[in-house]
């Protein structure tokens, strides 16, 4: 290696070489496949540039599938944020014994990873037509979920309720450190100045937490939007949402236009990318306070 020391121009390429396997791998199995889809979204069948595919996204069942997907993602993220925040706050602010915190966080780690096909079966077994809760309500209270409450596990609310099983734990995992970052001095300072608990929350704590809350909402949104397996195992093709439609398109070109499939995938990337950029940006803002 004496040459490398005497010739500094040689060093740079040699250093780069150490990163080469990683760069080649991510190029081949992450960036190029995605780029292929994105480029395909802007091409017609002969390969010429066109915006027609994106325009065609506004035809047939595609707009409604995006709309349903966005609604489910918003509903499950909003409820997930709300319930997760409540649970994390109860533990962090000492409403319940602090010994619960560690097991709750561990459990959240497991549950936030318990998405996919098994989760669908868990909810079918609980809220499905012959599920535990369904039978319990019918036998003991005479309430039939589907008739009296209009609830079906194969519907919009069914999927939302199922997604909450991984949305709430994810919220707990992310928001707990933020809540712990609220300094006791801020609360005491507010109290000394005569603020009520409501005023403290409205004027001090919530403005500080706001970027974290909104950022986590964005992350939860992307999480729900990209979920495929749970939806397919739960509803089959009964519910018209983007991942299910894209799955069918990849399997058998149900749209009858491969480039329209690319455009649909591109739309999915756009939605999750915007949500994630929002998350990262808000997280940087939030960290200013939580050092």
């Amino acid at each position: 290696m004496p040459d490398a020391r005497t010739a500094p121009w040689r060093r740079l390429p040699l250093t780069w070489l150490g990163l080469a396997p990683f760069l080649i791998f991510s190029l081949l199995f992450l960036i190029l496949p995605t780029a292929h889809i994105v480029i395909g979204a802007f091409q017609d069948r002969s390969g010429a540039f066109t915006l027609q595919n994106l325009r065609d996204l506004n035809t047939g069942t595609i707009p409604s599938s995006y709309w349903v997907s966005i609604k489910i993602s918003v509903a499950s993220s909003a409820l997930g944020c709300l319930i997760g925040f409540g649970m994390a706050a109860a533990v962090v602010f000492g409403a319940v014994p602090r010994a619960i915190k560690a097991p709750l966080l561990t459990f959240s780690g497991v549950a936030s990873n318990f998405a996919g096909v098994p989760l669908a079966f868990a909810f079918l077994a609980t809220f499905g037509p012959v599920g535990l809760v369904t039978l319990f309500l019918r036998n003991n209270f005479g309430i039939v979920l589907s008739r009296d409450l209009g609830f079906s596990i194969l519907s919009f609310w069914g999927l939302t309720v199922t997604y909450l099983f991984f949305q709430i734990p994810l919220m707990i995992l992310i928001i707990t450190p933020a809540l712990e970052g609220l300094k006791r001095e801020w609360r005491e300072a507010a109290e000394v100045l005569g603020a009520s608990a409501v005023q403290y929350w409205r004027m001090v704590a919530l403005p500080i937490l706001f970027p974290s809350l909104l950022g986590t909402f964005a992350l939860l949104f992307a999480n729900a939007f990209g979920a495929v397996a749970t939806a397919i195992a739960l509803t089959g093709s009964a519910l018209n949402i983007v991942p299910i439609q894209l799955f069918a398109q990849i399997r058998g070109d149900v749209l009858g236009n491969p480039n329209l499939g690319y455009a649909m995938a591109f739309g999915m990337i756009m939605v999750t990318a915007v949500a994630n950029i929002l998350y990262i940006w808000l997280r940087i803002r939030a960290e200013r306070w939580l050092k």
Binding site: T15, L19, P21, F22, F25, S26, L28, F29, L30, L32, P33, T34, H36, I37, I83, G86, M87, A89, A90, F93, G94, A95, V96, T106, F107, G109, V110, N113, F114, G116, V117, P118, L119, A120, F121, A122, L124, A125, T126, G131, L132, V133, L164, I168, A222, G226, V228, A229, I232, A233, P243, L246, F247, I250, R251, G261, M268, I269, T272, A273
Partner: protein, 263 residues
């Protein structure tokens, strides 16, 4: 904390815990109902005896192990090299490793199918072995964010530069340094990344289904449509595996804290 605060806290917490426990209870109860009138393990016995279950389960375990090996071989040298020689590149590398969280898995596999078809420059989907390889690479990609974070955090706790110089002055080459000095020092981090990878791969559905490989996830989804109790028993098993993996991660983390405290 006021009385009302406490009461609200308990209500929220109990509601949440009920929400988590009820589906697991429902799942377990349903999986035991295969015999009319009494609880039994019939569904479990049936499913474990099913040769297709054994085949798909073995396939997914093999895939998970291969993915872990790929992931370690890819991530450990990269994280090491970035820390040692190119610290300025860390944000960029980290950004790339986080991309699989942004790009939905279904889009990535869509790209694979179109890019690596039989008429492409790398016709991986043309043969079974090639498709298996592609699936393993796909899983490595999905696990990249978790693996890289775990290993990079592990590297932070050791003095990479000093260890490297010490090894070099004793005459070690790069392979020896990585394999016998760096890797043993980040074993807990690698383990927690590995268990998470295992948990992700074992029940993964989208990639395996779209690449048409006989993995556990697609099998579970398929029998869900035509068997009454078995899919629920399988889901209990899948949950048990996820739970075990997370428990092992906790154990690995505790082990790493222990060694840090001892230093």
């Amino acid at each position: 904390m006021s009385l009302w605060g406490r009461i609200t806290g308990w209500i929220v917490l109990l509601f949440g815990l009920g929400y988590f426990l009820l589906p697991l209870l429902g799942l377990t109860e349903f999986s035991l109902k295969a015999r009319r009138g009494v609880y039994s393990f019939d569904a479990y016995a049936k499913i474990i005896g099913d040769p297709e279950f054994q085949a798909t389960f073995a396939y997914s375990i093999t895939m998970a192990l291969v993915t872990i090996v790929f992931g370690v071989l890819l991530v450990v040298p990269t994280a090491y090299w970035v820390r040692l020689k190119m610290p300025w590149a860390r944000p960029y590398v980290e950004f790339i490793t986080l991309l699989p969280l942004v790009i939905p898995a279904i889009v990535i596999v869509f790209g694979y199918i179109r890019l690596y078809n039989t008429s492409s420059f790398l016709p991986l989907t043309g043969s079974i072995m090639g498709t298996n390889l592609l699936l393993a690479f796909g899983y490595t990609t999905l696990a990249l964010p978790y693996m890289y974070r775990a290993v990079d955090t592990g590297m932070r706790t050791i003095d990479v530069a000093t260890l490297t110089e010490a090894s070099q002055s004793l005459g070690a080459g790069w392979v020896t340094i990585l394999g016998r000095v760096i890797l043993p020092n980040v074993v807990p981090a690698v383990l927690s990344g590995a268990f998470l990878t295992f948990a992700i791969v074992i029940g993964e559905f989208t990639l395996a289904a779209l690449l048409n490989r006989p993995a556990f996830g697609p099998y579970l989804a398929r029998i869900g449509a035509n068997k009454p109790y078995e899919p629920f028993a399988l889901s209990v098993i899948a949950f048990g595996i996820t739970w075990a993996c997370m428990g092992l991660i906790q154990l690995a983390n505790r082990f790493s804290k222990h060694t840090k405290a001892a230093q």
